[in-house]
Symmetry: C2
Subunit: 183 residues, 2 copies
Amino acid sequence: MPDKPRILDRKTVAQSRIFRVEALELQFANGALANYERLVGADGGAVLVVPLVDDETVLLIREYAAGREDYELALPKGRIETGEDPLAAANRELMEETGHGARRLSHLTALSIAPGYMSHITQVILAQDLYPQRMPGDEPEEIEVVPWPLAKIDALVEREDFSEARSLAALYLARERLNAGRL
Amino acid sequence: MPDKPRILDRKTVAQSRIFRVEALELQFANGALANYERLVGADGGAVLVVPLVDDETVLLIREYAAGREDYELALPKGRIETGEDPLAAANRELMEETGHGARRLSHLTALSIAPGYMSHITQVILAQDLYPQRMPGDEPEEIEVVPWPLAKIDALVEREDFSEARSLAALYLARERLNAGRL
């Protein structure tokens, strides 16, 4: 693997309430020059929660996804607040979005979504030993909670309203770890 | 599921060479108002290729990822050019990034990466019956090609330099379909 490219210049070229776009001028180890744009997250990343009701059933949520301009089925997720522990963030999002807390929370992996142009990282957290506990969130309408059998990931892939790569990767990973007796 | 929210206002609030940020003012079916920002892709989406050397081995690539500012291991991928067929785009990216063409290309699924705030969709394409064929790409340095056993997705998840959700989801999906004899 070559040395990392040298960063010759770095500047913010666009900024909105939520997004900041940075332009990078890079020189690769072989001398080649390249200009890239990247999105820089304003936060400490996000959590994605795999909430297990039992060893065979996971809780999905259905909510409006403004990027796709449609309702989407996915695992619960949200931003990690400044200084917040990822496991605590996962439990808070779980309470806000599904009305459940978890007595057992464990870190499965960290996922990027577009490493070529986004700094963003999502921590994937498994939640087990659930109990009813609701916390008010900032959602504009009630979120529908959809229990889904882990054995039916295939059927989920076929659905028009399920598309999110992180949710799919996390479901497969959780199922594999459960089957291997590692959870 | 409620009716989709009404879009009361939509405007571009930031723009760079590659990214456009749109602000949406929405009214949900229950009357609640909400403001969102979303990233609108300038293109027809992307392809992610699962190139199978044989039924047990996939080709990964290692290249510099400007978003993470580090080298990352992932499946080959790239933008679909205007008017380009997704299968043709997959074969072109495969030739540019791994030096192989594929005699058999099939569509596995479509993945979003952040449906809450990005319109982006990636088409996942399985590539089989590979043959040596290189096409020049726009990469600033040579890309390292890394054959990886499909049986070792677990070991990939443990690596610091592998993080991309789409690649992980696509690898699990391809393996599941192969094991089910559906490919």
